[in-house]
């Protein structure tokens, strides 16, 4: 079979295009499958949609907050970046009322409430704007239980999710986080991150899978109530049915899964 250069290039070009098309079709199908489709461990905690209630009446001393924050940051190897506040990474932290609930503070609100620190974290929204904007599905809402997950190996570091999150819940690794992790307290069970990716609270999906409550909940001594919001008999639903609760910026339609009671 003889072929001139022009014909060869034509055939080569067309086969390349078809080949690429085939690859992306296969990937298209693969994308429908969730990352962790293995049968869950029998001990695993399951829910239709996880939710958390932060009972502020139980946070009295500095120590009550710090215990939760430390538990979270230690178990997830969150770096403690103190040299430059611009590069700070936090999954669970304190925010005063006026910043946690902007636009709701009244003129004559008591100074005590105004400056009262609230424990804040990713809201694991039912309608998350960060998931909507992510160009690679590196952040996604888990179909089984509504956790807004983060795949730090897929994230390209475009930071669109940080612009989209109205709660400031996302942190970006502006530099290599490893030197800022306390080597002695490092948790070898949980991966560390590289520079250039976004991270945030993932509601301890790794602990739930082994039947444990989220680290902050466990450390909170009852101040954080965790459970399935779609189960009418769950702890969270009982509290929410009995007491006045509120969420951060509900007017934005993101439907946060973290509730606050005072």
């Amino acid at each position: 079979m003889s072929m001139n250069r022009r014909e060869f290039l034509k055939i080569a070009g067309i086969s390349t295009i078809l080949g690429l098309g085939g690859v992306s079709a296969v990937h298209g199908l693969r994308n429908r499958v969730e990352a962790s489709q293995i049968s869950p461990a029998p001990k695993a905690l399951k829910a239709k949609r996880w939710a958390m209630v932060v009972d502020m009446s139980k946070f009295k001393k500095e120590e009550d907050y710090q215990r939760c924050i430390d538990a979270c940051h230690q178990v997830h190897n969150v770096p403690n970046i103190t040299d430059n506040p611009k590069h700070e990474i936090k999954w669970l932290w304190k925010e005063t009322y006026e910043h946690a609930f902007p636009g709701t503070e009244d003129e004559y609100l008591s100074e005590e409430i105004k400056h009262l620190p609230f424990l804040v974290l990713c809201n694991h929204c039912d309608n998350p704007s960060c998931v909507r904007v992510c160009p690679t599905k590196a952040t996604f809402k888990r179909k089984s239980d509504g956790i807004v997950m983060m795949d730090m190996h897929r994230c390209i570091g475009c930071r669109f999710c940080m612009a989209a999150c109205p709660y400031g819940a996302r942190s970006f690794n502006y530099k290599d986080p490893i030197p800022f992790i306390n080597e002695a307290k490092k948790n070898l069970e949980f991966p560390t991150r590289t520079k250039g990716v976004v991270e945030k609270c993932t509601l301890c999906y790794e602990r739930l899978a082994t039947g444990l409550q989220p680290a902050c909940v466990e450390a909170s001594k009852g101040a954080l109530i965790f459970g399935d919001i779609e189960d009418p008999n769950s702890g969270v639903r009982k509290v929410l049915g009995a007491r006045y609760s509120f969420r951060r910026r509900p007017e934005l339609g993101t439907r946060p899964s973290v509730y606050y009671i005072i």
Partner: protein, 396 residues
Amino acid sequence: MLELAIKGSRRYWGLVIFLLAIIGVGFISYLYQFRIGLGITGMSRDVSWGIYIGQFTFLVGVAAAAVMVVLPYYLHNYKKYGKIAVLAEFLAVPSVIMCMLFIFVDMGQPLRVLNVLLHPTPNSVMFFDMVVLAGYLFLNILVGWTILGAERKEAPPPKWIKPFIYIAIAWAPSIHIVTAFLYAGLPGRHFWLTAIMAARFLASAFAAGPALIIILCLIVRRFTKFDPGKEAIQTLGKTITYTMILNVLFLGFEFFTAFYSQIPGHMHSFVYLYTGLHGYSQLVPIMWLSSILAVVALFLLIFPQFRKNESLLAIACMATFFSLWIDKGFGLVVGGFVPSPLEKITEYWPTLPETLITLAVWAIGFLVLTILYKIAVSVKEEVVFDKYGEKQVQTE
């Protein structure tokens, strides 16, 4: 036609080497950023996009603005643009290349860039933006190259190119609308959450882009024998006049909505940008500079006697370009992050390496532009008459 790019005067090579030097310095800075991370920039947890994304946003507009020449020429058969249509198309090419580079240098994990194609996500505006930008780049290279090739052979352009021209005309606004949607659909960012964002983007793009085309036309006429034509420049000047008026009006609409409604969230970013907020006022001087340049530009553009004077028109074009470059390439992006959704203020200013990388991307754009214009101008100098029989070469 590429061979035309490697035969040039000393001045041509001087410019190429100068641009390569800037690119070299920026490339070294980028290696530094690649190794350390985006921490070498002025960006922060609160201001998570900076000058890179700002430049990207601005340049999408410059790229889209080619349509302001291409549309009257191909759809309304406005013959005076026959000489400069290819200059507009060839400006779009380096602009899109710069856009892509600015996205690339802004990424935390640049080696994962193909994840965007590997995991296509139609609900992400960024995914769409990538698709429309790549498409627009392809269309402009194809159309510009084919038309110029035909001109070189002194033959009419092939018929099959027509549909691509029409698609490119419709495609141009789409790239900028999609870019506006990156911003205009985010809950909790009041400054960006405005339906007029896309319209404002188009107006400012259709002012800044043609302004740059006029400046480039004047430079080309000064340094080569090719004459883009007085009338083409004047008509484009009128386009800039109207689009700049629209742009300033649209900004005024934003001010009205924010300050008449008195909703704090809507006012905060404007207050921060133009007067400073809670003692933070780093951007105030440049925002006022932008406003003053806009007033100067409008003053020179609106009165025909000034606009018809080419030196004054050149000043007006530079004022327009820099005013919008500050407003859109910097203020618009940073303003959306200050104050943060938690109503905290972190200020942003680019660092030295960040600035060098930014300059290098611009230099790459200018290098591509220089090469493309060199080719286009060489062809035109040889052909002497445009396809309507009008002389396009200056007589000594």
